[in-house]
C-alpha cells in the first residue's frame, strides 16, 4: 500500500482561546466556557484553568471548586463558527481531502501531494502559520502515516505544537506511551488493560494477537494493531454540505396549489443562489410536501445534468409538484425544496452550448449581483404572472 501522509490539526482550547483573543482582559487568566448554572458543563477550559485540573465536559460546579478564580463566560457560538469557517477554509485550501472531526479539529490527507504542496511537514508548518496569521489562534498539528498516529501526535506537544511521527520511528515513539493515549480507551477499559499488567504500548506489543483476543475479545484485535501504530482507515471528506434546502410551514393549510407553487419556486430560486454562492452543483432536486394530518411525502428527480441554474431547479421542482397535484392533491401545510448529491463546480462539461441555459446562467449572475448589493427582496421573478400562468388539472 502507498505510504500515506496524514495531518491531524486541532485548535488549542478553541472556545476559550477565541474568548481570550476577543477580550484582552481574559488573557493569562483561567477561563471556563459554559453555562454557569446548577447543571452547567464546561465546554472549554483555557490552559490556565487546566493547570487547576479543569477539563471540558466537567460540571461547572466541580470546575469552580477546583479553580475558584476562574472567569466563567457563557460563550458565543456565532464567533466560534466564524473562526471555524476560517480555519476549515485554510485546511480545504491545503488539501482536497479534509475530514472534519469537530468544529475545530480535522484530518487532512496529504498523500501524493508533495509536488503540488510541498512535503507534509512543510504543509503542517504553513497551516499553523496561516491559522495564527488569519485567526490569531493557535493550532497543534500531528503528522504521521495514518489517522491514529496523527491524532496521537497532535496531542503530544500541545498547545501550539508540531509533532511528526515518521514511519521508521513509529514503534520507538509510541512504545513508552501509556495505554490511556489509545483513542477510545476510557477509564474502564484502561482499568481492564492495567489489570492484565499492561501499562504502555510496548507492554501490549509483548503479547501475541491470540493472547490479546483471548483477554479482550474484539478490542484485542484493535489493541494489537494500534499498539503497532497500524491503522488503515481512510480520510473521508464529508464534502462540506450533503444537501442545500429550504422549507416553509404555513400557518394554515393552503388549498390552492398555485399559492403553494409560488412559494416552492421561490425556494428553488434561493436554493440555486446558495448553490452558486458555494460554487456547487446539484444532481438531484427533492420536493417535500406535508399535508393533512401531518403526512409527509418527498418526491425526487435527477437533473439532466448537475446544475446550479435557478431556471433548471425551478423546472424540476415544478414538474415534481405538478405531478403530485394532478394525482393526489391535498391542502398543503409545509413545502420545501432541497438540492442533493452536490458536487464542486459544473463537473462534466457539455459539447453543445445551449443558448437557453447560457441566458439563464447570465440572468442568475445579474439577479445574484442585485441581491448581493440590495438584499434578496430587491428583485424577484414575477410571482403574479407566474401564478396566473399555471394551469393545474386536478383529479
Amino acid at each position: 500500500m502507498l505510504a500515506r501522509s496524514i495531518l491531524h490539526a486541532d485548535m488549542d482550547a478553541f472556545f476559550a482561546s477565541v474568548e481570550q483573543r476577543d477580550r484582552p482582559e481574559l488573557r493569562g487568566r483561567p477561563v471556563l466556557v459554559g453555562h454557569d448554572g446548577a447543571r452547567g458543563v464546561v465546554a472549554a477550559a483555557s490552559y490556565e484553568a487546566r493547570r487547576f485540573g479543569c477539563r471540558s465536559a466537567q460540571p461547572i460546579s466541580v470546575a469552580k471548586r477546583l479553580c475558584p478564580e476562574a472567569v466563567i463566560v457563557g460563550g458565543d457560538m456565532r464567533r466560534y463558527v466564524e473562526a471555524s469557517e476560517q480555519i476549515f477554509a485554510i485546511y480545504r485550501d491545503e488539501s482536497p481531502l479534509v475530514e472534519p472531526l469537530s468544529i475545530d479539529e480535522a484530518f487532512l490527507d496529504m498523500t501524493g501531494m508533495e509536488r503540488a504542496r510541498g512535503d507534509p511537514v512543510t504543509v503542517a508548518r504553513r497551516i499553523r502559520a496561516r491559522v495564527l496569521d488569519e485567526t490569531r489562534l493557535t493550532a497543534s498539528v500531528g503528522v504521521a502515516p495514518n489517522k491514529f498516529l496523527a491524532k496521537l501526535a497532535s496531542d503530544l506537544d500541545k498547545p501550539d505544537g508540531l509533532t511528526v511521527i515518521r514511519a521508521d520511528s513509529v514503534l520507538e515513539r509510541i512504545g513508552p506511551l501509556p495505554i490511556e493515549r489509545l483513542w477510545g480507551v476510557g477509564p474502564a477499559t484502561a482499568e481492564r488493560v492495567h489489570a492484565a499488567g499492561l501499562r504502555t504500548f510496548a507492554d501490549v506489543r509483548e503479547l501475541t494477537r491470540d493472547d490479546l483476543v483471548r483477554r479482550f475479545g474484539a478490542f484485542g484485535v484493535r489493541l494489537f494493531h494500534l499498539s503497532r501504530g497500524e491503522d488503515d482507515r481512510p480520510v473521508v471528506p464529508d464534502g462540506a454540505a450533503k444537501s442545500i434546502g429550504q422549507e416553509c410551514t404555513f400557518s394554515e393549510d393552503l388549498v390552492d396549489p398555485r399559492d403553494v407553487l409560488v412559494v416552492l419556486l421561490r425556494q428553488a430560486d434561493s436554493v440555486g443562489r446558495r448553490l452558486r454562492r458555494s460554487g456547487l452543483s446539484a444532481r438531484t432536486l427533492t420536493v417535500k410536501i406535508r399535508y393533512g394530518a401531518f403526512q409527509t411525502i418527498t418526491r425526487s428527480s435527477t437533473l439532466p445534468r448537475p446544475s446550479a441554474v435557478s431556471a433548471e431547479l425551478r423546472a424540476a421542482a415544478q414538474e415534481l409538484f405538478q405531478h403530485w397535484v394532478e394525482h393526489s392533491f391535498r391542502p398543503v401545510r409545509l413545502i420545501g425544496a432541497t438540492a442533493g448529491r452536490l458536487q464542486d463546480g459544473p463537473g462534466q462539461l457539455e459539447l453543445f452550448g445551449d443558448a437557453g441555459t447560457e441566458r439563464e446562467r447570465r440572468l442568475d449572475d445579474v439577479v445574484d449581483g442585485i441581491r448581493d448589493r440590495f438584499g434578496s427582496a430587491a428583485i424577484r421573478r414575477g410571482a403574479t404572472s407566474e401564478r396566473e400562468s399555471i394551469d393545474f388539472r386536478q383529479s
Binding site: P234, V236, Q348, L349, F352
Partner: protein
C-alpha cells in the same frame, strides 16, 4: 382453404439462426402477443421470417437450398421466444414444420422430439413499413460494421435526449458518414460507398436499428444496400432486411464542436493508456468520475482521487510544450480507446475547458473535459 395447412422441412440450424436473428426486434412482453411473435412465410422455395417492435422491423430469408423443401406454402405466426427455445433444444438435422391455420397451431418435429405451439391470430400481425422506391447506396458490410462499432457507443442512452438517441447517417457523393453524440462526447466515422443514383441522404437512425443491422451482417465481404424514404431507414443484404423508423428532431451542429488547428497535441501508446485509465478509474466514485491527465515533458501522469482512495501513474508519451492539466470522465476515454487498434493514438486539444480530440484514419472522437478546480 388450401392455405390453412402449411408444411416445410429444413435444417434445424438454418431455422434457429433465422429465429435468433429476428428475435432482437420482437416487442417486449405485455404489448400484445402478436408483437411478440415471428411471422414465417413459405413460398417460392424460400422462407421469410419477419418481426417488428413497431419501431424497427426485420426480415430474414432462408433458402433456397438443398435442405429446404416447401411442401405446402403458407404463412404462420408463432411466439418468437418459445420458437427459438424449442429450436435450440431439438436435435440437429432435419426439422419438420407444420402449421394449422384454423387451430393456430404449429408442430415442430426433429429426431424423436415433437412440439406443439399455439400462435396468435395471424391477421393482426403488423405490416413492416418500407421506404418505398427510394434510391439505394451500397457499402461493404465489414466497413459498415466497423463504423457502427466505432460510433454507436457514443449515442445518448438516456431517453430524455431524444434527438441524440440515434445516429446521424449522411451520404454525400461516394462517402457515407455516421455521427453519434450524447452531448458530452462525439464520434464520427466515414466509409466509401457506391452511389449510382447520386443521392444525398441525411437522417437520424435509432441506435438500435443500426445495431440490429450490425448483428445481422455475418459476411464482411457482402454488400449492404442503404436507403431512406417514407420517414424510414432501410438496410438490406441478400439475406436480411432491417427497416427502422427515423428519429425526428434536428441533430446538433456537430462540425462546429470538432476542434481544428489544436494548439496542443500528444502521441500516446493506446494499450498503456487503457490499462492506466482502468487502474485509475478504480478509485473514482459515482459522483466524481474524473481522472486528471497531466501532460509534461517526461510523459503523461494519470491520477485520480476520491474518498475511496487515490491513484497516480506516469506513462511515456510524446508531448512538447507547457505542462497541461486536463480532467476527463475515464469511461468516455476508455470507450473510445476500446474501438481503436493497438499502436499510438493522436490526442489533441486547445486548452482547459475545450474538448479533447482523438483521430485515427477516417475516425474522429471528441470528448468534453470535466472541470477541475
Amino acid at each position: 382453404m388450401e392455405r390453412t395447412q402449411m408444411r416445410f422441412t429444413c435444417d434445424r440450424d438454418d431455422l434457429l439462426k433465422a429465429v435468433q436473428s429476428v428475435s432482437g426486434v420482437v416487442a417486449s412482453k405485455g404489448v400484445h402477443p402478436v408483437y411478440e411473435s415471428v411471422q414465417i412465410t413459405a413460398e417460392n422455395d424460400a422462407l421469410t421470417l419477419s418481426a417488428t417492435d413497431l419501431e424497427i422491423g426485420m426480415r430474414v430469408h432462408v433458402g433456397p437450398g438443398e435442405s429446404l423443401r416447401i411442401e405446402r406454402p403458407g404463412t404462420a405466426v408463432v411466439p418468437a421466444q418459445r420458437l427459438g427455445a424449442i429450436c435450440r433444444e431439438l436435435s440437429k438435422g432435419e426439422l419438420i414444420f407444420d402449421w394449422d391455420a384454423e387451430r393456430r397451431e404449429c408442430t415442430l418435429q426433429a429426431g424423436r422430439g415433437r412440439f406443439q405451439l399455439q400462435g396468435p391470430s395471424p391477421e393482426d400481425f403488423p405490416e413492416i413499413p418500407d421506404v418505398g422506391g427510394a434510391e439505394e447506396v451500397a457499402i461493404n458490410a465489414g466497413v459498415l460494421r466497423q463504423m457502427i462499432k466505432r460510433t454507436a457507443f457514443a449515442a445518448a442512452k438516456e431517453r430524455m435526449r431524444f434527438a441524440l438517441n440515434g445516429l446521424l447517417l449522411k451520404v454525400e457523393g461516394e462517402s457515407l458518414e455516421l455521427v453519434a453524440t450524447d452531448g458530452r462526447r462525439l464520434a464520427v466515422d466515414q466509409g466509401a460507398c457506391t452511389n449510382p443514383g447520386g443521392v444525398s441522404l441525411r437522417a437520424i437512425v435509432p441506435t438500435k436499428g443500426l445495431q440490429q443491422l450490425d448483428k445481422a451482417l455475418s459476411d464482411p465481404a457482402s454488400s449492404v444496400w442503404i436507403s431512406i424514404g417514407n420517414n424510414h431507414f432501410r438496410g438490406r443484404t441478400e439475406r436480411v432486411t432491417v427497416v427502422s423508423r427515423l428519429v425526428e428532431g434536428s441533430f446538433p451542429g456537430y462540425k462546429e464542436v470538432i476542434p481544428a488547428n489544436c494548439s496542443h497535441g500528444a502521441t500516446i501508446p493506446r494499450d498503456e493508456l487503457v490499462s492506466t485509465l482502468r487502474r485509475a478509474s478504480l478509485v473514482t466514485s459515482r459522483d466524481a468520475q474524473c481522472v486528471r491527465l497531466r501532460f509534461h515533458t517526461e510523459g503523461l501522469t494519470v491520477s485520480a482521487r476520491s474518498a475511496e482512495g487515490s491513484a497516480e501513474e506516469t506513462l511515456s508519451c510524446a508531448y512538447e510544450g507547457e505542462e497541461e492539466l486536463l480532467g476527463f470522465n475515464p469511461d468516455f476515454l476508455l470507450e473510445a480507446l476500446a474501438v481503436l487498434p493497438a499502436g499510438d493514438i493522436a490526442f489533441a486539444w486547445n486548452g482547459k475547458a475545450s474538448p479533447g480530440k482523438i483521430t485515427e484514419g477516417s475516425y474522429t472522437y471528441v470528448v468534453m473535459p470535466v472541470s477541475i478546480e
